[in-house]
């Protein structure tokens, strides 16, 4: 956690120093207050005191209180600015780091975990600083100072205060020990309630079809009951806290008065007044002591939680980047070529290779397709081109240059990548199509329209409210899967790339649209090279070259007809999709 605090800059450290000074000053004032209070009580107590004296002491006391308030306001201001700029810096750093991550790191952390790390975990740290900065500094100073103030005043009353603090701490710790582990259970049960409800919603047709409503209700009742009972146990245990705290505090004041009375009664006449004013002081200092110990206890409750968050943040910031940017940014001799030279790939900590010893070369304007069953490594293979991963062995060359040597930006400028899951941004159709930067000028409106037309999306885009400027919701929830896929293809087209990469990007299209789209694309981009991953034979049937993958190995290269003759696996796949006569007709 301490490492994260290195992200504070000099100005913020300066602020912290000022905070410490102010807090010391504030504690000094706060502890001075009871002095004035007892002064005032004694004045009122003794007959013949002058009104002027009381008002004088009262003014001092108010000045103290005001000073304390002012420094509290200042500390609050500084703490707020330290903590919020600290969290801003942290968020910034995490975001920068994540932008540099490769797919491997994204997978390792998972997107949702990275999101919570960038937001919730940072908020936790912010809370720690905002509250901690004040309490962490204040509580120990306050505790030590207040204790020292009362320690030499009266042994008996000190023991009493000590006992009360002890009882309180034991109570809090006991309750925490009982309840804290159950908090995480509650969290899990809430997830379960969520999970079962989610199941009910996603499976609503199945449940109704099976008349299983009652069955699901029972399943829900079970978790609902568990959740409620655990919650109840927690809250009932927690309910001890306030009454006990109140009782102890009340008991302390009563005890101080009572023991004070006995002490005064037994004391010599001369000592009585002194003891009495000590008693009055004790009433307020005793409370201060208790309060400062409560604050300490609170810190012990926040720190472990923040520590977990700090660890999660550090993990992201300390992650080694597996993809390092190259520095090649000169024009290349070749254009539109992709070559794999004995490429193998495995995840850094895996034993099995996902791709084994693949070699092939694609010339400018060629269409190369990759086919194979799920898990055969075709997506992984194609992801090596835009460097989402780096090959473990061998070389991947684009335009004759190793992809690792390129400046990533230059490499990406050559590519038009369409992902497996079509991804939409929360903006207009047009902005989704012109997304990003290809090192050239932003595509013109004409270009956008063309791209959309080639991607077979024109018809539905024009039907949208607003046409090309229609709003696409976050994640594209207001358009269908097939429509999203066509828009993301349009995005690649608008980029005018040398090389297209389609990672199973036609799956949500029906056969007809699929065929027309590819046909139009071919017409539109004669010179562009295409790499296509597909499941359907129909999609790849007319590719220049088809590479058949099985368990990471290349088991056949050739066109459809050749492969049908000499590649068993290809034949098997083809036959499972089309009947014999259909294949022959094709």
């Amino acid at each position: 956690m301490l490492k994260l605090f290195k992200n504070l800059n000099k100005k913020q450290y300066g602020y912290i120093l000022v905070c410490i000074i102010l807090i010391v000053f504030q504690v000094w004032l706060d502890l001075k207050l009871p002095d004035y209070m007892s002064e005032i009580t004694v004045l009122i107590q003794t007959e013949g005191s002058k009104m002027g004296d009381i008002i004088k002491e009262g003014t001092y006391m108010l000045l103290c209180a005001l000073g304390s308030l002012l420094s509290a306001i200042l500390v609050g201001y500084l703490a707020a600015s330290i903590s919020s700029s600290f969290s801003m810096t942290l968020r910034d750093k995490i975001f920068d780091k994540v932008e540099k991550f490769s797919t491997a790191e994204m997978k390792k952390f998972s997107t949702s975990s990275l999101i919570t790390r960038t937001t919730n975990d940072v908020t936790q740290m912010e809370m720690l600083i905002a509250m901690g900065l004040q309490m962490l500094i204040k509580a120990p100073i306050m505790a030590v100072w207040a204790v020292s103030k009362i320690l030499n005043k009266s042994i008996e009353l000190s023991i009493l205060t000590g006992c009360c603090v002890g009882v309180l701490l034991v109570t809090i710790i006991t309750i925490m020990i009982i309840v804290l582990p159950r908090f995480s259970i509650v969290q899990k049960l809430i997830d379960r309630v969520n999970g079962v409800t989610r199941e009910n919603l996603t499976g609503i047709r199945v449940i109704r079809a099976f008349n299983a409503e009652k069955y699901q209700e029972n399943r829900f009742d079970e978790v609902n009951n568990k959740l409620t009972n655990t919650q109840l146990f927690n809250q009932r245990t927690f309910a001890f806290m306030m009454p006990i705290m109140n009782f102890v505090m009340n008991f302390l004041s009563l005890g101080i008065y009572f023991i004070g009375a006995i002490l005064i009664d037994k004391a010599m006449l001369l000592d009585k007044i002194t003891i009495f004013s000590n008693v009055v002081v004790f009433i307020s200092y005793g409370m201060q002591v208790i309060m400062s110990f409560l604050m300490l206890a609170m810190i012990f409750m926040i720190v472990p939680r923040a520590q977990i968050s700090a660890k999660r943040i550090s993990e992201v910031l300390d992650e080694d980047l597996s993809i390092k940017d190259g520095d090649y940014d000169l024009p290349t001799k070749e254009i539109g070529t992709v070559e794999f030279k004995n490429v193998s790939f495995k995840y850094p900590d895996a034993d099995e290779y996902l791709i084994k010893n693949i070699s092939f070369k694609v010339k400018r304007g060629e269409t190369v397709a990759f086919i194979g069953s799920t898990g055969s490594g075709k997506s992984t293979l194609i992801n090596l081109v835009p460097r989402f991963y780096d090959a473990t062995d061998g070389e991947v060359l684009v335009d004759g240059v190793n992809v690792k040597d390129y400046k990533l930006k230059n490499l990406h400028n050559k590519l038009g990548y369409v992902s497996q899951k079509a991804f939409m941004f929360d903006s207009t159709v047009k902005e989704n199509v012109t997304y990003g930067d290809n090192g050239k000028t932003t595509p013109s409106d004409e270009k956008v329209k063309e791209a959309i037309e080639v991607a077979q999306a024109k018809e539905f885009v024009l039907e949208l409210d607003g046409g090309y400027d229609a709003h696409i919701a976050r994640g594209g929830t207001n358009v269908s899967g097939g429509q999203k896929q066509r828009l993301s293809i349009a995005r690649a087209i608008a980029r005018d790339p040398e090389i297209y990469i389609f990672d199973d990007s036609f799956s949500a299209l029906d056969f007809k649209t699929d065929a027309t789209l590819r046909h139009e694309l071919k017409k539109y981009t004669k010179d562009a090279t295409s790499l296509i991953v597909a499941q359907r034979i129909g999609t790849i049937i007319d590719a220049d070259k088809i590479i058949v993958l099985d368990k990471g190995e290349c088991v056949g290269i050739g066109n459809h007809k050749e492969l049908l003759k000499n590649c068993d696996i290809y034949k098997e796949i083809a036959l499972s999709q089309l009947s014999k006569e259909e294949l022959e007709n094709a």
Binding site: M37, T41, Q45, M51, I54, G58, A65, L69, A72, I73, A80, M88, R91, D92, V98, I115, N120, T123, E126, I190, V193, G195, T197, N200, I204, R205, A209, F210, Y215, Q216, E217, R219, N224, N225, Q231, L232, Q235, R236, A239, P243, N246, F247, S253, F258, A261, K272, I273, T374, P386, L408, H412, L415, Y417, G436, D437, G482, K512, A515, I573, Q577
Partner: protein
């Protein structure tokens, strides 16, 4: 613990209505809640009584600190009468003169002094008398009686000697002198503390505190029980409601929305209700009680305390409303930033491949800066509260002390009253912020309640009470007929117009069409998930309108495109809600779809836990859901792209299993792959939600329409 990410609207549209509804649905706990409220009030009243009692103790203590000066002055008064009264003096002088025991020299001094006395002032007279020898003075003094106690002349002599030497300006020395007084006099004037009285009050307070704490606990116990049970009931009601809503509802409502109601909203109700109700009741009692007690004790002091606190409260509310504004703004900004982060992270590949990092960073920086701006302000303002409250407390304290001192000097009130007010001031300031907090809490309750009730009030599936007919599973032949069916998801937009088709028992009906053509609509109508707008669907000649949904569902086996497994064992998932299914039957079904081997490899076999996560492949999931369908022996079968998640080679395996499944049953098959449905008895071709063609493969191909187009496109390429 407060929720950090409160993204939802915190304000109810109709606070009163929503609260009323909540309270109404809590009726069954009204007695026990009333008890809790009474207990909360009693606890508050206790905390009001105790300062008064504490002030009694302080009064008792103060009486035990300083000597009783009134008695002392009475004694000195009586002594001085003895020494100054002329008549008494002359009588005494005579007897001294006659006394043989007194030294003659002393008698001479006495006479001498008396002679001079005539022209002396009173003060000088006293001094003169005091300078007389002790023996004479002793004889001059009489035994006196104060507070029913006799004081001997010798004690009197010692007293006046000590008192005469006192330096009035030095308090310490004076007290020391007083404690040196002869014991019979000291006994009379020493500070007396009524320990018995103190003990009695202390015991009373101790009992009060114990009862107060116990009541406090009982009240917390009751309220947390009630609010949690209430939350449980709400969750239960929502869960049951899901099953009673028409599927239509879920077409235009997001799943996340329902989920958020069942967790976030219900949680908010439970949490805030628990905290707010208790604190509202006790704070209100405390607040009103405090005002009452203050006025009861002393009205001038009461006005002082209230005025002093009032200034602070005005300030506090100003800050509170301001900080609320920034807080809302902060939540909004946080939401925006979250959205952006989510978008960029989940689109990571696209962002990278399209060099969108710089743009993303620019946008991020902007949002991050915005968040910083209002975050800092809201944090600063909300952090002010406790310090400000502390100051108000201190301010009230001083005001009470000053005014109190003024009043004690004029003997209007005792010191104890001031002590009581010192506590009242603090008691008085805390409930107001508690009430403010409780009110915002209740606002959240009302807002969350509104959302929950809105869901619970949604229109439910049509009632089936009037339906008495039913078709028995084993007596149904399996004929089905669509007769002039009219249907539209939207009442104004009919997508199926006058559709008629007849299928005989054992026939295979295929539904084909491009993605989004509305193939699932047919399933929805067959299963009566949606009600048709016109025409009729007949099973064995019986209108489905005259059958309950449950009855219809029983006649169908359905396997869907979306594999749906729930968290539970393999056995639970395959057996599902059906009773009397033996393990043998389950194994049999697993074997048919070819996952028996896979299940055997799982730890625990049928008892292995599975869920909807990625632990098993989507193909295996699909096979398990098919196995689930196998258990039933219904006359109708619906396969809605049931093999879409299986890779093409596994699919072959499954379709063999399917063939077994469809044997002898009237089956409806929705498929992407046209080759599998070529042999269907009837093919329904759908486009844009409507049925555009129907017939068998050959007739449709001959027609050379949409179907032929679709069929050829799959291997035409270009």
């Amino acid at each position: 613990m407060p929720r950090m990410n409160r993204m939802r609207n915190e304000k109810a549209n109709d606070f009163k209505g929503s609260m009323k509804r909540i309270l109404k649905s809590m009726q069954k706990w009204k007695v026990i809640m009333f008890v809790a409220i009474v207990l909360a009030m009693i606890s508050s009243i206790f905390s009001l009584i105790s300062p008064n009692k504490l002030s009694d103790i302080t009064d008792a203590i103060t009486q035990g600190i300083t000597p009783n000066t009134k008695v002392l002055s009475k004694i000195t008064e009586k002594i001085s009468i003895n020494l100054t009264d002329q008549e008494l003096l002359s009588k005494k002088v005579q007897s001294i003169m006659l006394d043989q025991n007194i030294d003659n020299d002393d008698k001479l001094v006495l006479q001498d002094t008396l002679a001079k006395m005539a022209n002396l002032s009173d003060e000088e007279k006293g001094k003169a008398i005091m300078s007389l020898p002790d023996t004479i003075l002793l004889n001059l003094l009489d035994e006196i009686e104060v507070s029913n106690k006799k004081i001997s002349p010798s004690s009197q002599l010692a007293t006046i000697k000590i008192l005469g030497s006192i330096d009035k300006d030095d308090n310490d020395k004076a007290l020391k002198a007083i404690s040196d007084l002869p014991s019979d006099i000291y006994e009379l004037i020493k500070p007396k503390m009524d320990m018995d009285y103190i003990k009695k009050i202390a015991l009373f307070l101790l009992i009060l505190y114990i009862i107060g704490a116990t009541f406090g606990y009982i009240q917390h116990f009751i309220l947390s029980t009630v609010s949690n049970r209430f939350a449980q009931n709400l969750r239960d009601a929502i869960s049951k409601k899901i099953n009673r809503l028409p599927l239509k509802y879920f077409d235009n409502h997001e799943m996340g929305d329902v989920l958020s109601r069942i967790t976030n909203d219900v949680d908010a109700i439970a949490q805030h209700l628990n905290n707010s109700l208790a604190s509202l009741v006790s704070a209100l009692t405390l607040f009103l009680g405090c005002i009452f007690m203050m006025f009861y004790t002393n009205y001038i002091m009461a006005i002082t305390a209230i005025l002093a606190s009032l200034i602070g409260f005005v300030l506090m509310f100003l800050i509170l409303s301001k900080s609320q504004k920034y807080f809302n703004q902060k939540q909004k900004e946080l939401g925006k930033l979250n959205g952006h982060i989510e978008e960029i992270y989940s689109g990571h590949n696209v962002v990278k491949a399209y060099n969108g990092e710089e743009d993303a960073k620019k946008e991020f920086d902007k949002l991050n800066q915005n968040l910083y701006n209002c975050n800092q302000k809201s944090q600063f303002l909300s952090g002010l509260m406790p310090s400000l409250m502390g100051f108000i407390g201190n301010f009230g304290y001083v005001a009470v002390c000053v005014v109190g001192a003024l009043l004690t000097m004029n003997d209007v009130i005792s010191f104890g009253v001031i002590v009581a007010f010192m506590i009242y001031v603090r008691l008085f300031t805390s409930p107001l912020s508690q009430i403010a907090q409780a009110m915002t809490g209740l606002q959240s309750v009302a807002a969350a309640g509104e959302r929950v009730f809105e869901f619970l009030d949604e229109e439910e599936l049509s009632s089936q009470e009037h339906i008495h007919k039913s078709l028995e599973l084993d007596k149904v032949k399996g004929d089905i007929e669509f007769k002039n069916v009219k249907f539209g998801y939207d009442k104004n937009k009919t997508i199926i117009n006058d559709f008629s088709v007849k299928a005989k028992s054992g026939e295979k009906i295929a539904i084909v069409g491009p993605t989004g053509a509305g193939k699932t609509t047919m399933v929805n109508l067959l299963m009566k998930f949606y009600e048709i707008d016109g025409g009729d669907i007949l099973i064995d000649g019986v209108s489905t309108k005259e059958l309950t949904r449950e009855n219809i569902h029983k006649l169908f086996t359905m396997v869907l495109q979306d594999t749906w497994l729930f968290e539970g064992t393999v056995r639970d998932n395959v057996k599902f809600n059906r009773e009397n299914v033996t393990d043998e039957e389950i194994w049999e079904a697993l074997k048919v779809v070819g996952v028996d081997h896979f299940v055997k490899t799982l730890p625990g076999g049928l008892d292995a836990k599975i869920d909807d996560s990625d632990s098993i492949s989507s193909g295996q999931k699909q096979l398990l859901t098919i196995a689930r369908g196998m258990i039933d022996n219904a006359p109708f079968l619906i396969l809605d792209e049931a093999t879409s998640n299986v890779d093409t080679r596994t699919e072959e395996l499954v379709s063999k299993a399917m063939d077994k499944l469809t044997k002898g049953k009237t089956s409806f098959i929705i498929a992407h792959r046209l080759s599998t449905i070529k042999n269907a008895d009837i093919i329904l071709v759908m486009q844009n939600g409507n049925i555009v063609e129907q017939g068998n493969h050959d007739t449709l191909m001959k027609k050379n329409g949409f179907y032929a187009d679709l069929y050829n496109s799959q291997f035409s390429g270009n």
